[in-house]
Amino acid sequence: MTDNDSKLNSRDQAWRIALRQAVKPRERSSANRIRMPEADPDERRRGYIEVNRGLTEEMARTEARRCLDCLNPTCITGCPVEIDIPGFIKCVETGDFLQASRIIKAANAFPAVCGRVCPQEVQCEAKCLYAEKMHREPVAIGYLERFVADYEMNSGKIYIPETACSNNTKVAVVGSGPAGLAAAGDLARLGYCVTVFEALHDFGGVLKYGIPEFRLPNNIVDTEIGNLKKMGVEFVKNFIVGKTLSFKDLEEMDFRAFFVGSGAGLPNFMNIPGENFNGVLSANEYLTRVNLMGASKENSDTPVYLGRNVAVIGGGNTAMDSVRTARRLGAERAMIIYRRSFDEMPARKEEIKHAMEEGIEFLNLNSPVEYLADEKGHVNKIRLQKMVLGEPDSSGRRKPVPLKDSEYLIDSDLVIVSIGVSPNPLIAQSLPELKVSKWGTIDIRDGSLQSSIIGLFAGGDIVRGGATVILAMGDGRRAAREIHEYLKGS
């Protein structure tokens, strides 16, 4: 944030003081948290309509009134990119939605995305005074962020910073997912000539191929990418850095620094018998076919299995995305098979709730041990083993322990394995001198995003292994600052 912005938005401004005095804290805290309007579950199952419909202006302003504008706003400490949360919420309260958007955008380049997919319940909202100290439901910060972003998008007055490759220094961004887009945005703002290289035929990375339309509509992602283009960022598709051209080639083309945000694009499997039968596939494959390739849509050439009894292995957000997609594609029975219980489930509570409303079954404390197939090699049954929870493991969650003699069979003609991803190996394969960990993530220097190769920075899942959209975006922004420092010094 620039000094100007922070002054503009200080808690000590007269209007903020007046606003605090106008409504008593008790009155603010007496209101209940707003409920997000949602599409009807029956309607949801028939298409890809976005489930959360968004707040109205009135709802947003009412919810914004709940925020106490605390002297010590702990919510900000829960935000990976430290958005000035009370600052933007108070602007919402007064109805200055465009100013609210500017405040958010000073810290987060893509609020329409983050307002939808950030796990606010374990970040900012978990740190809200209401939740931390008062045993009350926190201010709906995520809903408000999304409201502000959508308002700006629909206003036709999207704020696009004036940039235009003013310093004639070229920077390459590898991957157009959340990390890459965030880096590109900030680098462009700093005056760099940024080119984003994408391996696929469309931009957005996991925001496009992974997260389904009913949770994050593609037009939101395309609008953000369109804004970056207006800022002068160049986008090149069908280009694999390290293969189509090497890092060295790009250096010779005057790219002075690199940001690698190539993501964790290598699906994990459990290595159990029968896992290579047809009809057993990774969540990445399933979601890519449906989301990126449009499989199941009328004119798409890409095939997809339409399972009747669909089992999704795993309990994360990707598992929820997969099982809910299967439901929309007509599964009669769509199940989550998870080895622990609801308490340990990594998926967002909201996604679990939406899944339940849509008729998803949860076979918790179950784990597959084998897949069986018909004579053509297509999966038809899963051998499951029941689990019980033991002592907490290194992740702090209680460890699932197999229950003896508890194996049983269920019918399933489509199994989607969603147990996590590993870093994509292409970058490391093409740069033997790049230091990577034993898991394949790019090693970065303590306290920075600089890799073992000078001028090559990395962030997002290629460094973290498997994290969230907002952490990837945070890395992208931080990398932009570090690249700026690096290039100034060189």
Binding site: A199, L200, H201, Y209, K237, N238, F239, I240, K243, T244, L245, S246, G265, L266, P267, F269, N271, E275, N276, F277, N278, G279, L281, S282, N284, E285, T288, R289, M293, G294, K297, N299, S300, D301, T302, P303, V304, Y305, K376, G377, H378, N424, P425, L426, Q429
Partner: protein
């Protein structure tokens, strides 16, 4: 962006297209493949690069009409554009001087075999190529293979060209007549399975270049899983070449048929759409 410069029919069902892709043409090595897509609703399919001309900035792809996408490619003419081409993908072939190399190509598998034969020949190996197909018109790229082979044997199932018999017959005779240091096999999975069984019998180190169903081609989807030496590998980022004696070809055959019914329906829709 990816314009078709020339097109020719190699047989009734096999076409060769030369596509403008200057960056890929410069980087490509023997064994590399590309992923292409036709139209905005197109699927992504992998194709091995058969030839490349860095001077002209083109790569040559050979495709057999099988499903929707291959029909769409075959329907394109010189001057038309391919929507997306990305590559070069996969590990290039390990080219070494092994001595005498027996190269078996089945059907349209001769296309990916060609650049390897060429590179192995340039590396100073004695090359014996065995080209096999059901009948004469399905033997492709014979002159190109001859240009880089010391000996060429043609086998056809119906005896309409070369000798009558399976690829393995031709190979076994050669194996019995001179010392073979290494073998390569590329073709339909069933052909690679039996050539691999044959060379295993004679303890000849053998590489197979696998075709598999892929979506992204960069390791992301895992559709191309194959069991090699009891371990699951991804053809796109771990291959496409593997030690043939360790590949589970039965599983590969099964997996290649994975979307048969779905593909049949898509193909039916495509053909009906074309008739209207």
């Amino acid at each position: 962006m990816y314009q078709i410069v020339t097109k020719r029919n190699l047989s009734d069902n096999v076409v060769e297209i030369e596509v403008e892709a200057p960056l890929i043409a410069r980087k490509r090595k023997a064994g590399h493949f590309v992923i292409l897509r036709i139209g905005n609703q197109g699927e992504r399919i992998p194709l091995t690069i058969a030839k490349a001309d860095p001077g002209r900035g083109t790569i040559t792809l050979i495709i057999q009409r099988v499903g929707v996408t291959s029909h769409k490619v075959a329907a394109l003419q010189a001057g038309d554009e391919i929507t997306d081409v990305v590559g070069p993908l996969g590990h290039p072939t390990h080219i070494e001087r092994a001595g005498t190399v027996l190269c078996a190509g089945g059907g349209v598998g001769v296309a990916p075999l060609l650049p390897i034969v060429e590179a192995m020949h340039l590396a100073g190996n004695r090359i014996i190529s065995v080209l096999a197909a059901r009948s004469k018109e399905l033997i492709i790229l014979e002159p190109e293979i001859r240009a880089h082979s010391d000996e060429v044997v043609i086998m056809t199932d119906d005896g309409s060209y070369g000798r009558k018999g399976l690829v393995t017959h031709g190979m076994e005779e050669i194996i019995n007549s001179e010392k073979i240091d290494m073998a390569l096999t590329i073709g339909p999975a069933i052909m690679m399975k039996y050539t691999s069984i044959l060379t295993a019998k004679y303890n000849i180190p053998t590489m197979a270049s696998l075709n598999a169903i892929m979506v992204d081609g960069t390791g992301m989807c895992g559709a191309c899983r194959v069991s090699v030496g009891g371990k699951t590998r991804f053809v796109c980022v771990d291959g496409p070449e593997f030690n043939a004696h360790e590949v589970d070809f039965d599983e590969l055959l099964m997996r290649l048929g994975g979307y048969k019914e779905e593909e049949r329906l898509l193909y039916q829709r495509y053909m009906e759409g074309n008739l209207i």
